[in-house]
C-alpha cells in the first residue's frame, strides 16, 4: 500500500467510526504532514489529530484507528531480530516454562520501574510468544490478547509490585493504586498489540469495524462496562452545563413578549405621540413540573441513574422535579438530590433507596404503577409532566394499563423513555409496545439521545 492509500483508508475508517472528516480536512492533514518530519510516529499522530479531530470525545476513537493504520512496528520488529540471535531460533515451542519464567521476571522489573518503553516492548513480546494462534494456512492464523494475558497473568504480579512500591516509600493505598494502574496499562498495551498483529494479517479495514468502540456519548447504556459508566458519570455534568447554556440562549432569543400597548403609548407622549420605542411585556418562561418514575431493577439501573442525574442537574429549567424509583414497590428519592450535593454520595444513597423500592425483588410494572397511584395521588396534576423510565420488561405480570392511562390522562404530558433498541420492543416479556399505545415511547439508548430528549422537554 502506498502512503496515499493508507491515508485514504485511514480517513475512510475514521468516517466509518463516526468522525465527520470532510474532504477539506483530509487535504489539510496532507499539507500538515508536508510540514513536519516523519521520523517520529507521535508527530504524525499529532499532525493528524490537529487537522482531523475537532471534538475531544472522539480522540479515543481516533487513537484506536490510528494505531491500527499506523502501527508502532511491523511483525516482531527489532525485538524479534534480537531474539533471533538466541541459540535456537524458532525451533520447538517458543512459550516453554523457563521462557515464561524469564519473561515474567522481566515484566515484574519493568512494572516496578514503570518504564513505558520496556513495557511496550514486553507487551509486543507477550503477544508474539504466548498469543499466537496458528492457523492451517496463510491468513488463517491469528493472535489473541486473551491467551497471552492468561499465560502471563500480570495480575498475579500485583502483590510483588505493591511490596516493591511500599519499599520505595509510598503509602499502602497509593501503592495499590499505582500498581493497579500500571498493570491496567500493560493489559491495554497487550490488547493493542494483538490488534496490530491481526490488522497486519487481515488488513486494517477488517479490524477497525470490530474493535473500535463508539464514543462515550454514543455508547449504549446497556452495553457499558464499569469503566465506561465512570466516564459517563463524568460526562453528565458537562452535558447538563451545555444543555443549560443552550436553554438560556434559546430563552433569550424569544425573550421579547407581546407588545405592551399601554407603556408604548405612554412613552410616545415624550416624543410627540410618535412611538419611537416600543415596549414589550416580559415573556413568562414556561416551566414544567417534572415527575420522574424510574425502574431501578438491575437491567436498567444505570440508565435510570444517568437520567435522574441529568434531570436534577438541570433542575433550574423546571419548576419542580420529583423522582420516584420502583422495582415492584415505589419509593420517593427527590430528597437525595440536594442542590450542591456530592455526586458519589448521591449515587450511594440512590443505591440504598433501591432496597426500599423492592418488595419481592422482581420487576412488576403493574404493581409499581398501582402503588404509585395509591400512595402519591397528589404527585401528578394538570401542570406536571410524567416521565417513565424503563425497558417495560415486567416478567409477564399484570400491566395495570388503566392505571397508567389514568396517570397519563391527568398529566399535562407523558413520555416513556426506553433504553432498548426499538427492534427489541415487544419481544420476550417486554410490554413496550403495549405501554407505547398509551404513552409515547421514546428510544433513549445513549447520552446523546438523552441530552436531546431532556432539552426537548425543558
Amino acid at each position: 500500500m502506498s502512503l496515499l492509500d493508507t491515508h485514504i483508508g485511514f480517513v475512510e475508517a475514521l468516517r466509518a467510526a463516526g468522525l465527520s472528516v470532510s474532504l477539506a480536512e483530509g487535504l489539510d492533514a496532507i499539507s500538515a504532514l508536508e510540514q513536519v518530519s516523519w521520523h517520529d510516529r507521535e508527530t504524525v499522530r499529532a499532525a493528524y489529530a490537529a487537522t482531523l479531530v475537532k471534538r475531544q470525545p472522539q480522540r479515543v476513537t481516533f487513537d484506536a484507528v490510528f494505531d491500527i493504520y499506523y502501527p508502532r512496528l511491523v511483525g516482531d520488529g527489532v525485538a524479534g531480530e534480537r531474539d533471533g540471535d538466541d541459540a535456537e531460533p524458532a525451533a520447538g515451542p517458543r512459550d516453554t516454562g523457563p521462557d515464561l519464567e524469564r519473561f515474567r521476571e522481566a515484566l515484574a522489573e519493568a512494572l516496578a520501574s514503570g518504564d513505558q518503553q520496556a513495557l511496550q516492548d514486553l507487551a509486543a513480546e507477550a503477544v508474539a510468544r504466548f498469543g499466537a494462534m496458528p492457523g492451517r494456512g496463510p491468513g488463517l492464523s491469528s493472535w489473541s490478547a486473551y491467551t497471552s494475558l492468561q499465560r502471563v497473568s500480570p495480575s498475579e504480579l500485583v502483590d510483588r509490585l505493591v511490596q516493591g512500591l511500599l519499599a520505595d516509600g509510598l503509602d499502602a493505598e497509593r501503592a495499590q493504586r499505582t500498581a493497579g494502574r500500571r498493570i491496567g496499562d500493560f493489559t491495554r498495551m497487550v490488547e493493542g498489540d494483538a490488534r496490530r498483529r491481526i490488522a497486519e494479517e487481515k488488513g486494517p479495514e477488517h479490524v477497525v469495524g470490530v474493535t473500535v468502540r463508539p464514543t462515550i456519548d454514543r455508547l449504549d447504556f446497556t452495553a457499558a462496562r464499569r469503566s465506561d459508566l465512570e466516564e459517563m458519570r463524568r460526562e453528565v455534568y458537562p452535558l447538563a452545563r451545555r444543555l443549560a447554556a443552550r436553554l438560556t440562549k434559546e430563552q433569550h432569543a424569544r425573550r421579547r413578549g407581546p407588545l405592551d400597548v399601554r407603556r408604548t403609548v405612554r412613552a410616545s407622549i415624550a416624543t410627540g405621540g410618535v412611538p419611537l420605542t416600543t415596549h414589550h411585556r416580559p415573556r413568562r418562561p414556561h416551566r414544567t413540573e417534572l415527575v420522574v418514575l424510574c425502574d431501578v431493577s438491575g437491567s436498567v439501573a444505570n440508565f435510570a441513574q444517568f437520567t435522574l442525574m441529568l434531570v436534577f442537574a438541570l433542575r433550574e429549567a423546571f419548576s419542580g422535579v420529583r423522582a420516584f424509583t420502583f422495582v415492584d414497590d415505589v419509593a420517593e428519592v427527590s430528597d437525595v438530590f440536594r442542590p450542591g450535593a456530592d455526586v458519589a454520595e448521591v449515587m450511594e444513597s440512590l443505591a440504598a433507596s433501591m432496597s426500599q423500592a423492592a418488595m419481592f425483588g422482581r420487576t412488576n410494572y403493574g404493581r409499581a404503577l398501582t402503588r404509585f397511584a395509591e400512595e402519591h395521588p397528589d404527585a401528578i396534576g394538570p401542570r406536571s409532566s410524567l416521565l417513565v423510565l424503563g425497558d417495560g420488561r415486567s416478567n409477564y405480570s399484570d400491566l395495570a394499563l388503566p392505571v397508567l392511562a389514568d396517570l397519563a390522562g391527568r398529566a399535562r404530558h407523558a413520555w416513556w423513555l426506553n433504553p432498548e433498541h426499538p427492534r427489541h420492543w415487544g419481544t420476550g416479556d417486554s410490554a413496550a409496545d403495549t405501554y407505547g399505545t398509551i404513552v409515547p415511547m421514546v428510544e433513549c439508548r445513549n447520552l446523546a439521545q438523552l441530552g436531546e430528549f431532556v432539552h426537548e422537554i425543558a
Binding site: S20, S22, A24, E25, D28, S31, A32, Q35, V36, E42, T43, A46, A47, A49, A50, T51, V53, K54, R55, Q56, R59, R174, R233, R234, Y237, P238, R241, R242, A245, R246, K249, H252, G340, A341, D342, V343, A344
Partner: protein, 293 residues
C-alpha cells in the same frame, strides 16, 4: 511573508523562553498553525492556559496581541467595524452651508464613507495591521451563532467585506487563536477551518516545571508535594477539578504564608484555594483522609 516558527522544536524553545512550557502536541500544533496559516482552535477545561498560549505566541514572536473577548450579545459593530455616525453627522452639518446644494450632497455622500469615519474593531484591525499580529478570539463559545457566521470570512480568507468600501484583505495574515470552554458545540463550518488542539491537565512532571517557573522562590520539595496532592485531587470525582491556574495560585499562597512544608493540616487549611465547591472540599477531606483542624 515571515514564518512564525521554523520547526516544532523551535516553537517549543521559543514558547519556553516566553514563559510557556508546552508539550509536544502543543508545540507541533502551534507550529502547524503558523506554517499552514490556519486559525487554531484551543479547547479544554478552565485554567489550563488556553488564553496564555496566545499571549505566549505573541511574546515569543514579538507580535502584537489583538484580543476580541466574546460574550453573549456581541455583534458586528463591536467585533468588526462601525461607522462613526456622530462624526458623519458633523461632517454633513459642516458642509451643508457652503457650495451649491447638488454638488455638496454628492461630495458629502462620497466623503462620509471613507476611512476617516470608520471605527475599526478587533477583527478588522487585526487584518489591517502591517506588523505581525496575534489575534485572540477568546471564549468563542460564549457568542451567538450569528457571530460565528461573521467569523467565517475572517477565518478562511482573512478578509472583511465592507459594503461601502469594498473588501479589505489582510496584507499579512495574523496568527489566529480561538479559545473555547466547550459550553456549546461550535458549528462545523468554524471547526472545519481551524486546527484543533485540546489542552488537558499536564502530567506531574510538566506541572511541577510550570509551577516552579511561574512561582520563583518555591521550594522544590514543596512543589513536588503540591503537584502530588493536585494530581490526587484530579483523580477524585469532583465538580471542578483543580487546573494549572489553581496549582499556581496555591503555590503563591504557600509562599505568602511562608509555609515550607505541605503537611496534611496545611492542605486542609488552604484547600479553598484549589477547590471552589463546598461539596468538593468535603469530598477531598474525606478521600485524602485529611485531619480537619
Amino acid at each position: 511573508m515571515t514564518t512564525w516558527f521554523s520547526s516544532p522544536a523551535d516553537a517549543a524553545t521559543r514558547l519556553r523562553e516566553a514563559g510557556y512550557l508546552t508539550d509536544d502536541a502543543t508545540a507541533l500544533t502551534a507550529y502547524l498553525a503558523g506554517a499552514l496559516e490556519k486559525p487554531l482552535l484551543v479547547e479544554g477545561p478552565a485554567g489550563v492556559g488556553k488564553t496564555e498560549l496566545a499571549k505566549a505566541v505573541a511574546r515569543a514572536t514579538g507580535a502584537e496581541l489583538v484580543r476580541l473577548q466574546c460574550y453573549e450579545g456581541l455583534d458586528e459593530a463591536r467585533a468588526l467595524y462601525e461607522w462613526n455616525y456622530k462624526k458623519q453627522l458633523l461632517r454633513i452639518q459642516a458642509s451643508s452651508g457652503q457650495g451649491s446644494r447638488q454638488d455638496s450632497w454628492s461630495e458629502t455622500h462620497d466623503d462620509i464613507f471613507t476611512e476617516e469615519f470608520l471605527l475599526t474593531r478587533p477583527l478588522l484591525s487585526a487584518i489591517r495591521r502591517e506588523e505581525p499580529t496575534v489575534l485572540l478570539v477568546d471564549e468563542v463559545d460564549k457568542t451567538d451563532i450569528e457571530v460565528e457566521g461573521l467569523l467565517l470570512e475572517v477565518l478562511s480568507d482573512f478578509q472583511v467585506t465592507i459594503p461601502e468600501l469594498g473588501t479589505v484583505t489582510a496584507t499579512r495574515r495574523p496568527f489566529v487563536v480561538l479559545t473555547s470552554n466547550a459550553s456549546r458545540e461550535l458549528s462545523e463550518a468554524v471547526k472545519r477551518r481551524c486546527l484543533f488542539l485540546h489542552l488537558d491537565y499536564p502530567d506531574a512532571e510538566r506541572e511541577r516545571a510550570i509551577v516552579t517557573s511561574q512561582v520563583p522562590g518555591l521550594d522544590d520539595k514543596v512543589a513536588a508535594q503540591l503537584v502530588d496532592v493536585v494530581v490526587r485531587l484530579r483523580e477524585l470525582e469532583l465538580k471542578k477539578a483543580p487546573s494549572i491556574a489553581e496549582s499556581v495560585d496555591w503555590a503563591r499562597t504557600l509562599i505568602a504564608l511562608q509555609i515550607g512544608d505541605l503537611d496534611e493540616a496545611t492542605v486542609a487549611r488552604t484547600l479553598g484555594v484549589v477547590l471552589k465547591h463546598a461539596s468538593d472540599q468535603r469530598r477531598a477531606v474525606k478521600e485524602l483522609k485529611l485531619a480537619t483542624a
